[in-house]
């Protein structure tokens, strides 16, 4: 028996939630350092307010050139660019998703032996390191201007994106469900189809829909480096100072991106 009674009230008064960084010295050093750096950084910025005011006016003139948007004069070019972009988007998503599945399986530590795992992780890392524009420039140099370069770019980017996220989902599956399928005498491919696929299917479908949406947006940008699609049409319109046509193209792109975003989020909600 202890002689003194335990004072819970005093203990509760003395208790504080533990801080993020335990050492007070280090804690204040980090906070103080961050604040000092922010102040110094702001101090080094050189803002030419006169130039900015002038630029504002130029920007206003530039935007005014967009109105009214002209859908009619170049409607054939717009339609052509749009169809090219949509084709590029769908084809590259299908190819990219199809290729990303084996890579994802290889990049899941619970399924693949170490050498295959490292190889597939390397593919993912390469695909994710380079921004689409850089890859597009390489492909344009390889296969020439046009939508083929854009399609190859988007397929390649899709592999890295899908494979990484699907591999992580495969690593997070409920092991015992896969174990039960193995215990029935199922082959390795049957294990994938019956033990793994049902667990990752909702995410696979949801991510594919999301990637379709991303690929369309990217296809509009890739035209700027000559990789085909609506971006090419947009670029041409700017080069010819046809700002009203450019405005029309931008509106079309915005409308399609919105539609793609709504439908992809609807699909993702449905498959859960």
């Amino acid at each position: 028996m202890s002689a003194t009674a335990f004072d819970a009230a005093a203990a509760a008064r003395a208790w504080r939630p533990p801080p993020l960084i335990a050492s007070p010295l280090l804690r204040y050093a980090i906070y103080g350092g961050a604040l000092l750096y922010a102040l110094l950084a702001v101090g080094t910025l050189e803002v030419n307010w006169a130039r900015a005011a002038e630029g504002l006016e130029r920007g206003a003139r530039f935007i005014a050139g967009f109105f009214p948007p002209d859908f009619v004069t170049k409607r054939h070019d717009i339609m052509e660019g749009l169809m090219e972009s949509l084709t590029m988007t769908v084809v590259s998503t299908v190819i990219g998703v199809a290729l990303s599945i084996p890579v994802a399986v290889g990049a899941a530590r619970n399924l693949a032996p170490l050498p295959i795992y490292l190889f597939c992780r390397a593919i993912i890392a390469i695909s994710r390191t380079f921004q689409e524009i850089i890859i597009a420039i390489v492909f344009v140099a390889m296969v020439g201007f046009g939508p083929l370069a854009g399609m190859l770019t988007l397929s390649f980017a899709t592999i890295g994106f899908m494979a990484k996220l699907i591999a992580e989902d495969i690593e997070d599956i409920a092991e015992e469900q896969a174990e039960a399928v193995r215990a029935t005498g199922a082959s390795w491919f049957q294990l994938l189809a019956w033990g793994i696929l049902p667990q990752v299917k909702p995410r696979l479908i949801g991510l594919s829909a999301y990637r379709l949406d991303i690929n369309f947006r990217e296809s509009a940008v890739l035209g700027l480096v000559g990789a085909g699609g609506i971006g090419d049409t947009l670029n041409t319109a700017f080069d010819r100072y046809e700002f009203d046509t450019a405005a029309a193209i931008l509106i079309v792109i915005i409308a399609i991106v919105l539609a793609a975003e709504y439908s992809s989020s609807w699909i993702r909600r449905k498959v859960q």
């Binding site: 015992e176 399928v181 215990a183 029935t184 005498g185 033990g195 299917k201």
Partner: protein, 265 residues
């Protein structure tokens, strides 16, 4: 003998010695309960039998086939003869009851037949017959995650039986179930074993349940068999050997009458 384990040893990569040269024989049609504290190696033992866990050394012989030396294809054929039932049911949650049941036939059908769910008619018939037997023939197309615990475990049992096994490996079948459902599930497993002449190794925490349903009890402690005998010989001394010191007088049914009622401390 249907199943013979000799010198079965498992050392995990972490260095833990889970099984220390276990010798065990299970004759055809015998239902055996394997008891022991958590971490004694019960799960490892039954997983070494179908090599979901690879034994380090020793041998497993099922009906004349040496399991430990088999290549991948032969191992899959051997696994068809051993149905497994799991603690948390281990149903594939997003598949339907029927798909889960038919997955018990995966070892018998090719990949594409299984991909398109084209199973032989008599497999589907057998699935319906067994689902009817366990009272779930009205839930065929329900998704597995829509079922209650007891229902899920019955689907798990049917899946194991679909393999047309000679041996059932049962891992804590009642650990996630309430006492009444636990008893129903144990009774069902025993009835089905009897009907089909199946042998079973049942890992179980609940000593009273083991005693009630299994005639032979094997006690595992720290990877070694420390008791092997009929359920009636399970005395407080034996339980102390298996689990360590505790007041066992309330746990044991058969010997309760002979023992003095323990005074609560």
């Amino acid at each position: 003998m249907l199943l013979t384990l000799s010198g079965l040893t498992k050392r995990y990569p972490t260095g833990d010695l889970a099984l220390k040269g276990v010798n065990l024989e299970v004759p055809k049609g015998q239902v055996m309960a394997l008891i022991g504290p958590s971490g004694a190696g019960k799960s490892t033992l039954i997983r070494c039998v179908n090599r979901l866990v690879e034994p380090t050394s020793g041998s497993v012989v099922l009906d004349g086939t040496e399991i430990t030396g088999l290549g991948a294809a032969a191992l899959r054929r051997a696994r068809r003869r051993m149905g497994m039932i799991f603690q948390e049911y281990a149903l594939v949650e997003r598949l339907t009851v029927m798909e889960n049941v038919l997955s018990g036939r995966l070892g018998y059908v090719g990949f594409w037949s299984s991909w398109f769910r084209r199973f032989p008619r008599r497999d589907v018939e057998e699935a319906f017959r067994l689902l009817h037997r366990v009272g779930l023939d009205h839930m065929v197309d329900k998704r597995a995650d829509a079922l209650s615990g007891g229902q899920r475990q019955r689907v798990g049992i049917v899946r194991a039986l679909m393999q047309d096994p000679q041996l059932l490996l049962v891992d804590e079948p009642t650990a996630s179930l309430d006492p009444k459902t636990s008893r129903q599930i144990m009774r069902l497993i025993l009835e089905l074993c009897e009907e089909r002449g199946l042998a079973a190794i049942i890992n179980i925490h609940d000593v009273a349940l083991a005693q009630q349903f299994a005639r032979r009890i094997v006690g595992l402690r720290a990877g070694e068999i420390v008791f092997d005998g009929p359920a009636t010989e399970l005395t407080p001394e034996v339980l102390t050997t298996i689990y360590g010191e505790e007041d066992w007088s309330q746990t044991i049914r058969a010997v309760e009458e002979d023992e003095e009622e323990a005074v609560p401390a």
